[in-house]
């Protein structure tokens, strides 16, 4: 049951063509649920991190097509909304072992990046303000580090892939670049290696065993009174 602020102004939105009046402070996702729609697909973390709720919209009276995450974007008057619950992509299968972080590797798996027109439509569609065209172009010339760094905030929401006129799926390329960068150019982080060694040496064995056999009520107490890391 949603509480309405008495000073909350109502705005008009169109969901799948049908007109609705919703409180102006809601996100697109909450507004759609306010109108009675139930999300079976296209909703995930609701926190702007999973990329499930990719949405396209136009504003009444304008031609501009915008992309957004439904769980993050606040509704605006005259928004004409459509969800993109799934974008068809073909993620190539590769074994990271034995790959080199260079242009030939990217070209072997995603040669369609050679079709990039540098039109920047992908960048315009991105709800995370990523320079998508730039990381695709960096991949094309083998600058894996640049491609990895620029695509860091990518959520694989699919809006760039759906709009690309050259039929590229930028986020797949970015993912390969990040994987190659992390594995081969940055290398494994020391604290992870240290922790793995500790685990293998059995440092945490008794603690884990204790937790696994603890009765539920004691477990609840332990969880609620745990040390919380400061924000």
């Amino acid at each position: 049951m949603m509480r309405l602020e008495s000073k909350d102004e109502m705005v008009t939105i169109f969901v799948m063509g049908k007109k609705h009046s919703v409180p102006g402070s809601l996100t697109i996702m909450k507004a759609m649920e306010y109108t009675g729609h139930q999300f079976r697909r296209g909703a995930g973390c609701r926190g702007g991190f999973c990329g499930a709720c990719a949405t396209l919209y136009r504003k009444k009276g304008g031609y501009k097509l915008e992309g957004a995450l439904a769980c993050q974007k606040i509704v605006e008057d005259g928004m004409y909304i459509a969800q993109i619950p799934f974008s068809p992509t073909d993620k190539k299968t590769y074994k990271l072992e034995g790959l080199k972080p260079d242009a030939p590797t990217i070209m072997e798996y995603y040669p369609e990046i050679s079709r990039c027109l540098a039109c920047n439509t992908c960048t315009k569609a991105c709800p995370q303000d990523i320079a998508v065209m730039d990381y695709v172009q960096a991949s094309l010339r083998g600058d894996i580090e640049q491609a990895a760094k620029l695509s860091f905030d990518c959520l694989s929401c699919g809006l760039c892939a759906v709009r690309c006129p050259a039929e590229i799926v930028p986020y797949n390329v970015g993912m390969l670049a990040r994987r190659l960068y992390s594995k081969y150019m940055v290398g494994p982080t020391q604290h992870v290696l240290n922790r793995v060694k500790e685990i293998e040496e059995g440092k945490y064995d008794s603690e884990v065993k204790e937790l696994m056999t603890m009765p539920l009520d004691k477990l609840k107490v332990k969880y609620n009174t745990r040390d919380k890391v400061a924000e």
Partner: protein
């Protein structure tokens, strides 16, 4: 063979002229373009013959293998005594086919080794010229 041309031929010729920006009517079939073309061995019609077909407004011009084999080297443009850029006409004919969602080549035909070895400039230009 009797060639009957109608208004649709004129429309076709005009469309090619518009898309290429070239006045093909100026061609008097001297053949200088064909003699300088590096790819005539692979062609079914000589470039000058394709221009003649366009002059007559025959849509068969875009069914020739010629237009796909052209390398856009502009040797023809430099040689033409009437200043026609034959390469532009070839591009217009290609575009008229490609814009109907036709792809002459496909990236799927290339092996991983080829994709790794070919310089970007080759793959990019190949895709630009021969795919939709």
């Amino acid at each position: 063979m009797i060639l009957r041309t109608g208004p649709e031929n004129k429309r076709y010729r005009d469309r090619v002229k518009e898309l290429s920006g070239e006045n093909v009517d100026l061609c008097f079939q001297c053949g200088a373009c064909s003699s300088g073309c590096p790819m005539t061995q692979e062609m079914d019609y000589l470039p000058s013959k394709v221009i003649r077909m366009v002059q007559l407004g025959l849509e068969e011009a875009q069914e020739a293998k010629t237009i796909w084999v052209c390398t856009t080297c502009f040797n023809c443009e430099v040689r033409c005594p009437r200043g026609i850029d034959i390469a532009n006409v070839m591009e217009a004919l290609r575009q008229m086919v490609l814009r109907k969602k036709y792809n002459r080549v496909s990236l799927d035909d290339l092996s991983p080794e080829e994709l790794r070895e070919l310089p970007q400039v080759a793959i990019v230009s190949n895709q630009r010229k021969l795919t939709a």
